[in-house]
Amino acid sequence: MTEETNERNEMTGAEIVVRALRDNGVEHLFGYPGGAVLPIYDELFQQDDIQHILVRHEQGAGHAAEGYARSTGKAGVFLVTSGPGATNAVTPLQDALMDSIPLVCLTGQVPTSLIGSDAFQECDTVGITRPCTKHNWLVKDVNDLAATIHEAFHVATTGRPGPVVVDIPKDVQFAKGTYVTPQTAPRKSYHPNVQGDLQKIKAAVEMLASAKKPIIYSGGGIINSGPDASALLRELVELTGFPITSTLMGLGAYPASGKNWLGMLGMHGSYEANMAMHDCDVMLCLGARFDDRITGRINAFSPGSKKIHIDIDPSSINKNVHVDIGILGDVGLVLEDMVRLWRAGTKHDKKSLYPWWEQIAKWRARDSFAYKNSNDVIMPQYAIERLYQLTKDRDTYITTEVGQHQMWAAQHFHFNEPKRWMTSGGLGTMGYGLPAALGVQIAHPDALVIDIAGDASVQMTMQEMSAAVQYEAPIKIFILNNQYMGMVRQWQQLLHGNRLSHSYTEAMPDFVLMAQAFGAHGIRCEKPGDLDDAIQEMIDVKKPVLFDCRVANLANCFPMIPSGKAHNEMLLPDEATDEAVANAIDAKGRELV
């Protein structure tokens, strides 16, 4: 570039966009061209600093950017055109909003003179994306463009991270304006609180020290806060000897191999985690938000406990569940204070927790993730177990789609490090996993990236296999194929008299042939005895793989807290007879999802 020779930094809007991305440390950009972003694409063509990954659908670009962001901690960036390009971006934007993922989405817009005229490929992008972004901007003056993009990165990545949209009309991309470098002083109205109130932290530490039946319940906030937060969480658990459970989003922050680990909690969480949540006397919630999948029936949620909640978002505190101490701040910084205060002389005897741990051991002995294995047919849980065993010593990243396979993955694949697990938690977006895997693989070209998929979900964004082939991203799509939308079917069995309305896929594509059509590698496995070799083949092939793993068609995901029930009313696998399943949810719970 010419910054040394051109001190006034005069350039076109399109040049400003590319320069601003570069100055914000962007190395990869997912996108799809179109009329309203052609000037930016022309600039991308003439440079080598930023690699553009061409997807096949804008939703894929967004999920790929999410996978990239979740696995690196950096903002994921994607570029789409106006109109349909922008509307196709809505699903990943909302997905990122609900899971607090930093995304910067650049959208083209029709020229300013045509805005409001129902021009070709026009839509009200800032209007449509306002409720599904943390903030968004329409840039009407090229001289505001650089500062706006810098601010967009700042807003997306600080505080509670989230998606942002910068909408750039085509005439602004052509117009000449002044480039400014990233500002250090952000706007006055935006100032996330990161440092927790020390008095409250002291009170929290005292409350923790007095606990006889404590539990730590951690969430995605630990992952978002960064590696220090995970390290501090591990230190706190070690210091206190407390049991720890985590939400779906928080898996890996505390290692699954850790001795204080109870497994995931919530609707399909472990019996010991949910029972300990229900019976605890002090609950420490770290960067989680008391989501309805976690709490079960909320008026029966952990009725006897004092609750401490640490969150960076003030609206999360006391939103669903009333807490006794709410601490606003970055969970990593608050943990630092907590660990320091605990070390500074908290009188706490780990032996006082022995009766609690004995009780937990009794719950654990129920072995709530158990399943009946088979020699004839691959059980989905067994497939995940084998996948874990054969990949655990590698540099492995897992993404998932949404449904039964996602819950089995959370139960049976064990995560020992943060940022290794990418799943759509809040929005529950089928079709997330395959493009997310592409994004992860672009960020970590030498890692083993596996999308644990379902046969229905994977067909929603299957087109991105083509992008994976193009960029030689050897993602492994491990499809637990049971011919059903398994979770839909499970709910029909629970709620609708086993009337399986439209949850069976009668015309399943041949995934092996499909892989070949894409120029990828296809594998089919139908017998438990062949599974290990097939998984090894998948790992060894240096290409994208579609792995059609034919699993038991009617297996269901247990344990489960049926809707409208409390943590201590779980349906365990050994109790889940047809009759128990049919009667698990009463009339009130039927209305819930």
Binding site: G127, R187, K188, Y190, N299, P314, S315, K319, N320
Partner: protein, 190 residues
């Protein structure tokens, strides 16, 4: 502790109506930029909060700051959520619950005023009566001919309501109201 929360016909558990619903007035200081009002209104409609009155105008021209005054109804829990959700909006500088602040200051309730323009058309006795009542309400006549008056009235919303009700049988034809502007008593700023 959450016994007041009842399951409704969705995945969410919303405070039941047995909890006391209060009316509060919020002052929201925002950057005066395109779309900021849409963000505030969208938040209320998207999250199912009530707006009883909403007033917005630029108050500090040089700093491009606008003040939005919102009168809303909800339980204490919902009102706290509204405040925090508003604070999350990037161009929002400050949110002050004037009703809470007034009671902290020992002032009872914040000062609230509204301006209304009221057009009354008629002849004869009704016209005379309208003018006489307007005078009693300290409404100003800002336009008139032999067949109508336009009154300008400032006061609490309840006073405006009352004036409008009285004018109804006297030929009331058109009403325009500003919505509530509000501020707390005493020397302290917001």
């Amino acid at each position: 502790m959450n016994a007041h929360l009842q399951p409704t016909g969705s995945a969410y558990f919303i405070a039941s109506e047995t909890q006391l619903v209060e009316t509060h007035t919020l002052a929201v200081l925002v950057d005066n930029e395109p779309g900021v009002l849409a963000r505030v209104i969208g938040l209320f409609s998207g999250r199912g909060y009530n707006i009883e009155s909403l007033t917005v105008s630029e108050t500090e021209h040089e700093q491009h700051l606008s003040r939005i005054t919102i009168v809303t109804r909800g339980t204490a829990h919902v009102l706290e959520q509204i405040k925090h959700q508003l604070e999350r909006i990037v161009p929002v500088h400050r949110v002050v619950d004037l009703t809470v602040r007034a009671s902290e200051l020992g002032n009872g309730a914040p000062l609230e005023r509204e301006l209304a323009l009221v057009k009354v058309a008629g002849k004869g006795d009704a016209r005379v009566e309208a003018l006489r009542l307007a005078d009693a309400f300290r409404a100003k006549v800002i336009d008139a001919n032999t067949e109508h008056f336009i009154f300008e009235l400032t006061g609490k919303s309840s006073k405006v309501d009352q004036f409008i009700a009285i004018m109804k049988p006297l030929g009331l034809t058109e009403i325009s109201r500003t919505g509530v502007a509000a501020m707390n008593r005493g020397p302290q700023g917001m």
